[in-house]
């Protein structure tokens, strides 16, 4: 939060809203930098969602995850989704990054920062964007299990254990 890019503040509180940043990246996602991107003097609430790689899925021990994207389309779909809640609310500010490549347990795979004068629109937008991202953005993940097997995750397949 105290990174140099966090200040100086814009002097007007009716600073432009909308989608300020969308990227599909290979390097680690800087969450503080993403928060700073949506901040301005008129913001009263920031909702940040992080997806992280966890060590268990469907009851199997996971050692890591490989993310792959259809790069150009992933970027444009992400941008379209991020823009949808902004279209009806000019006070909303959104920044999104999704990481691809090989991730370790605990690494942040996706970060969504939504800011607004008030909390409800910021929180609603973050939820909308992660829900739609999982439905519509051409990104895939392959789980690497401790036993050496690698499996591409298919959310449309019947779950082996209840979700």
């Amino acid at each position: 939060m105290k990174s140099p890019s966090f200040r100086p503040w814009p002097v007007v509180s009716d600073a432009m809203g909308g989608v300020v940043h969308v990227a599909v990246v290979h390097d680690p996602i800087g969450t503080a930098e993403l928060i700073a991107r949506v901040q301005h003097a008129g913001i009263g609430a920031v909702s940040l969602f992080l997806g992280t790689v966890r060590d268990l899925n469907d009851g199997r021990a996971v050692s890591g995850m490989e993310y792959e994207a259809y790069m150009g389309m992933a970027d444009s779909e992400l941008r379209a989704i991020a823009g949808e809640p902004c279209a009806s609310d000019p006070g909303l500010v959104v920044a999104v990054e999704h990481r691809v490549g090989t991730l370790a347990i605990g690494d942040v795979s996706v970060a969504i920062a939504c800011a607004h004068a008030h909390r409800a629109p910021a929180m609603d937008a973050a939820r909308y964007i992660i829900d739609e991202l999982k439905r519509r953005v051409p990104i895939w993940k392959q789980e690497h299990y401790l036993d050496g097997e690698r499996v591409w995750i298919d959310p449309t397949a019947p779950a082996r254990t209840p979700a």
Partner: protein, 88 residues
Amino acid sequence: MTTSNSNHAGIPVLLFASYADAFGARTVQVPVSAPCRASVLVDAMRVMPGGARLPEVPLLAVNQTWIDLDAVVQPGDEVALIPPVAGG
């Protein structure tokens, strides 16, 4: 557009993730000629090695936009067959 060459060789289709694994390639040339309905393209892929892996209604993008299977693929289009997405 210089699409006649690619038409002779079929329509190139981009593959990702599990589909790239199934077909053993990140691009396959599908032996149909554009323009053609996307469903025709998909049916041609089903009989290619790895094509049995495709679901009944696979996802498809043309020029990086989602399309239905009854849409028409034009010469020069960037066509991608999209596995079930799993981002986040």
